[in-house]
Symmetry: C2
Subunit: 320 residues, 2 copies
């Protein structure tokens, strides 16, 4: 997978850009925008003194404040990078201080709810362009970010009806400048797609790790010891930020419950095949699912290396 | 994760060793045993002419045959590396040809059923020592194997009651020679542990990839495009060998259904939390599951690198 950033911009997309919330995504954005010269000046705002202190120590911006209104005062673009449940409160805090025509964007994993939370509280002159970069790792906090996180990843913009086209174009340029591919989609459709590609996978990963932790016949140490059989992949996902994910499930409830219902129906069918010893049925499903991964690798969204390249054979062709 | 093999043995564990079934695991074994001088002579037997041809081209053994009985005639140790559903038939085919006191072992992911299949068909003089290396990748076939696959992985031996201690010790030495850690366990307990650390994770990965493939509102191309949100990890698991996994579910039915029942109960509880908007309940689970991964990393069974090290930041400390 290519993960190199192109040359920096000659002319920044924004004069001043404010990032609110300096965790994994916010800090990766700050690093990438700085590296690509996508904004002349970066203001970092975060309600947490501790996160802000780390951001300052890491040199992630030009100014740092715990006062969100202060942070956005001169910003041409404000990007909300807090867990989605905080967006309404953040919107209310920054609304009176926003510059005329300021663009307000975000990076949340749910989009319809974010629009519903922000539109009523933002001033009419503000231009809302929600975005969702489909990128991340299981780590969190300002130290976990890196400038190439968005390279060759998709960033999905979900402008509400009547959104300002110029604002959408600027947000698109920002994401493209830091290596992302941009797709525009309706918010409700985004939430349905991400429910199956991201939210439900996280939910079932959290769930099975919880199931394993609660077993009485199998010890926790056995679960960890023999995790290489597949389980450890799930533990990576289930190590993701708890606050962010709590908010995702609370704010994309309908789509998640819909997809979860389908998942459970299918699992019940699979369970019945096992109970009845229907080997042909199992084989047919297991064969069909193989093709999906080939498609993902072909689309450049995944490494083709076995086991994610986690273990690189040291023997090359020798000994084969 | 350390993945280097130690120095080769001065004295092989076995004079002649037969590998039956030359897929990912069989071919990795052949490479590792050769590299570590763990057997003086390796015979490769496989019912498939095609697989055998590849094995010969890759130089994986000293002799090659599609006649299983012929393959084991002089072997001190025979290792069955076919899907577990084939073990009874293979056992019947090799039984009359086995050398007096030959050790018969295997690498199957289920153990109680393998013992039940092999014990009645093997001659009394044969010494059965089932084994399960908890290692693999999503790839299959003789070309996919590599000599370091078992390094720092667990190999679980499940000798049946009354198994010959000397035979168990030899099989242990074989696995240790190729870098594995050895654990001895009762077959039924193995099957329960692996149901939760391996079998059910595979089942739900296959299941969600199937669910996604069947959606009508979300296109397959969208699912692949935006898979980086978590889904693509599941597709790796769901790209595993269909025959092998069909057999696992058919032959570890009880333990899989038991663990699947627990998983489904827990998922129902989680679903209810989402429906009721119980953020505290979600947060509590999502926090608890984080610790399990830290334990796995601490036990050396997983890389600590974010995203499995799939994307190495190219920026190091610069730009941070």
């Amino acid at each position: 997978m290519s993960e190199r950033l192109g040359p920096p911009l000659d002319e920044p997309v924004f004069d001043e850009l404010a990032i609110i919330g300096i965790g994994l995504i916010g800090s990766s954005l700050a690093r990438a925008i700085r590296r690509q010269n996508a904004a002349r000046r970066i203001v970092v705002a975060d309600a947490s003194e501790e996160a802000l202190g780390r951001a300052e120590a890491l040199g992630l911006g030009d100014a740092f404040t715990t006062d969100l209104a202060e942070g956005v005062r001169n910003a041409d673009c404000v990007i909300l990078c807090a867990p989605v449940g905080a967006n309404a409160a953040i919107g209310r805090a920054i609304a009176p201080a926003l510059k005329l025509g300021a663009i307000v964007s975000d990076v949340g994993s749910v989009k319809a709810d974010v629009i519903a939370a922000l539109q009523p509280v933002l001033p009419d002159h503000a231009r809302l362009v929600p975005a969702h970069p489909v990128a991340g790792t299981e780590q969190s906090g300002p130290d976990a970010g890196f400038a190439t996180l968005f390279v060759n990843r998709w960033s999905i913009l979900t402008p509400p009806e009547g959104a300002d086209a110029a604002a959408v174009a600027q947000v698109r340029r920002l994401w493209e400048a830091i290596g992302a591919n941009v797709e525009v989609m309706e918010a409700a459709h985004h939430d349905l797609v991400l429910a199956i590609t991201s939210h439900v996978p996280h939910l079932i990963a959290y769930n099975i790790v919880g199931t394993a932790a609660d077993l009485e016949d199998v010890t926790r140490s056995e679960v960890m010891k023999f995790s290489a059989g597949g389980f450890r992949d799930f533990t990576r996902i289930a190590a993701s930020d708890p606050t962010m994910w709590r908010d995702v499930f609370l704010h994309n409830k309908d789509a998640v419950l819909e997809m979860l219902g389908r998942f459970s129906e299918d699992l019940t069918a699979l369970q019945r095949m096992i109970r009845r010893g229907d080997g042909d049925g199992l084989f047919a499903l297991f064969t069909r699912t193989r093709g999906i991964r080939l498609g993902i690798v072909a689309q450049g969204q995944e490494t083709a290396a076995p086991d994610f390249g986690r273990r690189v054979p040291d023997d090359g062709k020798a000994g084969r």
